[in-house]
Subunit: 496 residues, 2 copies
């Protein structure tokens, strides 16, 4: 495909997305980009130009409004005014599966924003790379490979590196769970664990009970597998057990996915009494509970509560763990811990899906954990996160108008804010981005994506000073919208 921007830069006064749109417009009008030609994907052009994907999306949106290009859901963006291709060589577009059609539509509905470099990223749960123990991991990797040699570069077996499963099981036992390494299967982060757990218990067309709000990527995984959602509302920081009981009683509901500790997006942690009652409910229904404990190692305040896995006496809990939030995501290592025959089913499914993970990274993590390097890292990160959380709570009290409420997490990377005055936070996001802050709007965490006055703020990437700046910007955006005489119509497409 033709490369963009070999010419001298346009006047720097224009926003970047308008510069990109202008260039493309010139190339289309000159015929350099022919009718029906496919434009580079947003991803590719963003990478080529070194800009945010959302900036490119905005440029394409502008060209589309001008009738110069045509975007088809899931098909890409093409120069308008199509001409017929020679017979027998015309590109054919094979039909996608229905699940994937739905997934692609869902992906296109995610919020996009053109963000300046200085924008405070309170939207992202990706931990700050400045905090990763890169050299400790490099040494662990080199030591593991020097010792393990070729055997570490062969197949892991679908269950994964035994040494890492041992050290993880030992940690889980310290937390009260009755597990051995044999119960632990290593996965590509908790994400793959979610997909595997869904597939073990649910066939396409079946229903998965999830909290509402819930982690938006679990909604994607459910969609991608052709499953459906039964929402269980969160009240006072915990799923409503009455609704859960009625939901699990339905024969088409096969499992419950829950985040009792440092919930995403809520930031809340349920009590031991609630957990015991939840396990009673699940036990009466005989339905499995998938406990996503993805941030379990990030407690920085308060007293630990035993996990569902530790309280489980009936083998119904399948627990997900990940190094992605507490260490770094790039090893793509997490695990799924289960009981009895569920373990064998998970291993079979993992084998049928990708034969297993990368043994060398698993061995290096085993080394990092055994040597104490992981715990030293956790101590440092927890101190930093506590300082950031306190800065966030203080800034919220200082900057947000009366009627705003928020949760107070004892660990993890996020908290949840509810705004007054019926503000739709999907609309607010555009104002906030212009003010210099990004957040995750609440509609993303709802199964039907209906408007929400809630938003998730993250302390993963911003330090205390940036948090103060970002919350001040957020407060200004909220106050401006509360003072505005009328609410704007919600943008149909990309949000700016």
């Amino acid at each position: 495909m033709a490369s963009l921007l070999p010419q001298p830069p346009l006047p720097p006064g224009l926003p970047v997305y308008q510069q990109i749109a202008g260039r493309l417009r010139a190339e289309i009008e000159s015929g350099e980009r022919a009718p029906r030609a496919r434009l580079p994907t947003i991803r590719a052009l963003a990478a080529e130009l070194g800009v945010n994907r959302d900036t490119v999306a905005l440029a394409y949106e502008e060209l589309s409004r001008a009738g110069l290009v045509e975007a088809t859901v899931g098909r890409g963006t093409f120069v308008a005014q199509r001409a017929a291709a020679p017979a027998g060589t015309a590109p054919l577009e094979p039909a996608f599966s229905q699940s994937v059609e739905r997934l692609v539509s869902l992906d296109r509905a995610r919020p996009r924003f053109a963000a300046a470099e200085s924008t405070v990223p309170l939207h992202s749960l990706v931990p700050d790379p400045a905090l990763y123990p890169v050299d400790a991991f490099r040494r662990a990797l080199d030591r593991a490979l020097s010792a393990g040699r070729g055997a570490l570069l062969s197949y892991a077996g679908a269950q994964g590196h035994e040494g890492l499963r041992e050290v993880l099981a030992a940690r889980f036992r310290e937390g009260g769970a009755d597990v051995t390494a044999d119960a632990v299967t290593l996965t590509q982060g908790a994400s793959e664990g979610i997909s595997l757990a869904l597939r073990v218990f649910a066939d396409p067309g079946d229903v998965v009970a999830v909290e509402e709000p819930t982690y938006h990527n679990v909604l994607s995984a459910i969609t991608a597998l052709g499953l459906r959602v039964a929402p269980v509302p969160i009240r006072d920081g915990a799923p409503d057990l009455g609704v859960l009981e009625r939901t699990l009683a339905r024969p088409d509901v096969k499992l419950f996915y829950t985040m009792p500790t440092f919930h995403n997006p809520m930031g809340t942690t349920t009590t031991r009494a609630h957990r015991e009652a939840l396990l009673e409910v699940a036990g009466r229904a005989g339905k499995p509970v998938v406990e996503d404990a993805y941030e379990m190692d990030l407690r920085f305040a308060g007293r630990p509560v035993p996990s569902l896995a530790a309280l489980d006496r009936r083998g119904l809990v399948v627990q997900l763990f990940s190094f992605s939030k507490s260490l770094f995501p790039g090893a793509r290592v997490g695990c799924i811990t289960a009981h009895g025959a569920v373990v064998d089913a998970l291993v079979s499914l993992k084998h049928a899906t990708d034969l297993g993970g990368a043994l060398v990274l698993q061995a290096a993590l085993a080394e990092l954990v055994s040597s104490g390097g992981y715990d030293r890292h956790l101590a440092r990160v927890r101190r930093e996160l506590l300082a950031r959380r306190d800065a966030l709570l203080e800034a919220l009290a200082r900057e947000l108008p009366a009627g705003t409420t928020w949760t107070t997490p004892e660990g993890g990377l996020q908290l949840y804010v509810e705004l007054p005055g019926g503000i739709d936070t999907a609309e607010l996001l555009a104002d906030a981005a212009r003010q210099g802050v990004l957040f995750a709007p609440g509609f993303q965490f709802r199964h039907d994506r209906r408007p929400s006055s809630g938003l998730r703020l993250s302390i993963a990437q911003a330090d205390a000073a940036a948090i103060a700046r970002g919350v001040a910007a957020l407060g200004a955006a909220v106050k401006a919208r509360l003072g505005a005489p009328a609410r704007r119509a919600r943008d149909a497409g990309v949000m700016v």
Copy 2:
């Protein structure tokens, strides 16, 4: 669970599986293992004892025949004579999805064998760890991480490391394919690529056309996703295009999965004319073709034939590639190359499944390929494989009885043998294992697992001398069976 074998070893004269069975029998009869107690999984016990899984399977089989334990499909193995557990705490066994029930049954039907250390492994396609360039990769990994730092330990983005996608696309272009890095999505080996490709085009209940015989793990992946198989027979080393045309005309058949180069298990490569005709057939049906090019870099003889991807003019071919056979499997890196909107769908699906792969391993591979280290390795491996193939062909001509036929691969790790006299190679495997050689019996590669007189031999792990020894053992087993007066009944369970 109780550990095994703290006692002094049993007389070494007994086969290992009988030693294990004897220990377990003693523990059960003494009550040390209580009624209803779950035995360790085969996997776990094999790892604990440092023996082959099949050895443990044989031990369990013996205890089962003795009525001491009960094995339930997919549920594990338990000490017999069950007693009731206290009410309210009895373990509950949540129901599996139908797809997973079927997958677990399929897994249990795989051949098992108790193999002595000296057995020649002509069954496995896992490349010989002695050939891996461990130190070159170690250096590449360390250089990549020193340069990339924390950014290499963050999320890759679902499509994966751009540098590796660039070097792979450049290699594919050298092979004649019209692709850029933007068309390439990195996967966990070709295996994950298979799962992703199936999911993009087929919903549960849909049908996938596959060659027969075909790669047994693609049959597992199809089962695990709730899909069905339409077999297209291989005749004269290539899929029957008449059958393919009729199959792809069915509306429930959504795609064709094929291995035109160094087919697994056949070892055959189709002609350019056949490939062009195949693409015509697919084009008329408008159905996508998934070309598994997992051994494409392992040609050691003959002239290259353009890939389906290189001949494709209609964007119907989705190509899978892997480093697993040509370099080593442990990086768990392969890729899937597609066109237009299919790329976006694959990336969405990869994101929804596991958020993406491990950037640091991808970066190290990019470095290894760019620096020429991968090509130097390929040159060395191709020489070795050619020598091994020649040794195999000579041994087959020398040792196998008249009426035996085999294929002559120009690359890759395997060839296929057809035996005379109606021998069922699933039965023969037990004899061969006793004679000191393992192979992959043909029934594994058939969608309905019906008996086959074919078998796959691999040169991945045995050098020329071992190959000669192994084929001599195979020849002896075949001749003995041909000379035997009657055929034994086929074993129902584990094969010994």
